[in-house]
Amino acid sequence: MATPLKAIPGPGKRIEVPIKKATGPGDDKIHTWPHLVRNEFLIACAMMILLIVWSLLVDAPLEEPANPTRTPNPSKAPWYFLGLQEMLVFFDPWHAGVVLPTFIIVGLMVIPYLDINPKGNGYYCWKDRKWEITTFIVGFHILWVSLIIIGTFLRGPGWNWFWFWEKWDPHKVEALTNVDLPFLLGVRDETMATIVGALIVGGYFVVGYAAFYALCRGVKGAEFPDFIERWGWARFGLTGFLFLNMWAVVAKMMMRHLLNIKYIMVLKTPYFSINI
């Protein structure tokens, strides 16, 4: 919007700049020194005292010298990677160790481009962002953190499950009764099993996308046509993909824990093989 020349006030008068307004006027600004620097200084002091006391009381671990011929049981990755190590129970290494971390990192990076909700920018609010916040808490706090807790405290020798009060018994043997899902459904032929497995995986995504669509519709109500036009199908597709993959991890974990299912689909070709 061009301002007519006449309307420009003379020197000393305040000029209204509409663009600035959108990012917030500077009215509530206060001096960084002392207001912000003082807080930062106090917090830094408190943190340093905490860290030094902690370091005086608790020594960093140092075990026996490295010995490549003696594998400890259990061997655990550093605690912040135990969520991924725990996923090795449910998925093959290429899936748990490479594909899922890639989805997590890329998924985090694209959040700002998928979320076009203009509300809740720069303040805490639950009402306008229920779905966003719930998804983040499920993915981060429930999945990631609880898997770390399981990996740290509940997995003992042989990566077997031990409750907090149980002793880690290195001779505990767990019967390997895992079967693939198509086998459980009565399919015995290998090729048929692959086809059935692929149909289940594909079906999960088809049904999942439909459910995701219905969810968006339900949440948006009458605004939906307007919303989906602004959001676009590319965003819908990518959000749905990440969302469904997250829930697929939960689903696969449930199937293993409750039904002892190993794979849903086993695909073997002369060139590559993929088990999901």
Binding site: T23, G24, P25, G26, D28, K29, I30, H31, T32, W33, P34, H35, L36, E40, I43, A44, M47, L51, S55, L56, V58, A60, P61, L62, E63, P65, A66, N67, P68, P72, S75, K76, A77, P78, Y80, F81, P93, W94, A96, G97, V98, I105, L108, M109, P112, D115, N117, N121, G122, Y123, Y124, C125, I133, F136, F140, P270, Y271, F272, S273, I274
Partner: protein
């Protein structure tokens, strides 16, 4: 005027003093701004900020704590580097040596270790705060992406450091943590599609590239040492510079007035 004020004035009016400190300490609005804009470190901040951005309950100060923990690891890390030799013969002995013979050695090692862990936790909480306040929304989308890169670099810094004590804990944790390298699709010799690259094997694939061989050995120690002490800190510093610059340019997020 007392003797003390006399001396004080002589010092603060001297040519040398004035060449270092450009302005006085009087609490005037002008000085408050000069305190920040005239100081290279404080200049990371704008000279004025929005009121709510100084509140602990808005930022939890988690970005700041992450940065503080990074600085602690840099300083204690340099101290440890004076004593530590990244070779299979000496690494473990040096860990023992710094515990018993090096002044404050164990304290420095403990602080390095615990600050690294604290940094991982703080960066997660920082991300959670930024998510809850919706601070990744325009115009800060790209700074969120830079943040995710910093998160990955923080984890990699911790992970590469884990190997350096060269004890049972470190080599096996790193073995377990890197095993999936073998299973990388196409590039790992046990991954799906590995047949597409002829000749992949235990000593020639993605994990071998990281380890410098088929399993963890002296070559791995040197690689991780250089990644841990030079390469990743440098890259992380560059991204932090971008991160801070962007915060400065975009201003702090906050509710519209």
């Amino acid at each position: 005027m007392s003797k003390w004020d006399d001396v004080k004035e002589q010092i603060t009016e001297s040519e040398v003093w004035k060449s270092i400190f450009r302005h006085g300490y009087d609490d005037t609005p002008r000085n408050r701004i000069l305190m920040v804009s005239g100081n290279v470190w404080l200049h990371l901040h704008p000279s004025k900020v929005r009121r709510h951005a100084t509140r602990l309950r808005f930022t939890w100060c988690m970005g700041g704590i992450t940065f503080l923990m990074f600085l602690v690891t840099v300083i204690t890390g340099v101290y440890l580097m004076f004593y530590y030799r990244p070779t299979a013969e000496y690494a473990y002995a040096d860990m023992k040596y710094l515990e018993f013979d090096m002044p404050f050695g164990m304290l420095m090692r403990n602080m390095h270790r615990w600050a690294a862990h604290a940094m991982v936790i703080a960066v997660w909480l920082h991300m959670f705060r930024v998510f809850l306040t919706g601070s990744y929304k325009p115009p800060r989308e790209f700074n969120w992406v830079v943040g995710v890169i910093l998160l990955v670099l923080t984890l990699l810094l911790s992970f590469t450091g884990y190997l350096l004590p060269w004890d049972q804990l470190s080599i096996w944790a790193v073995t377990v943590g890197s095993n999936m390298g073998r299973a990388t699709p196409i590039l790992g010799h046990e991954g799906p599609g590995h047949e597409l690259i002829p000749g992949l094997n235990n000593v020639y694939d993605a994990r071998a590239f990281l380890f410098g061989g088929g399993e963890i050995g002296p070559h791995t120690l040197l690689r991780f040492y250089i990644l841990h002490c030079i390469f990743i800190p440098l890259v992380a510093s560059l991204f932090m510079a971008v991160h801070f610059w962007r915060i400065r340019r975009d201003g702090f997020s906050g509710p519209a007035l």
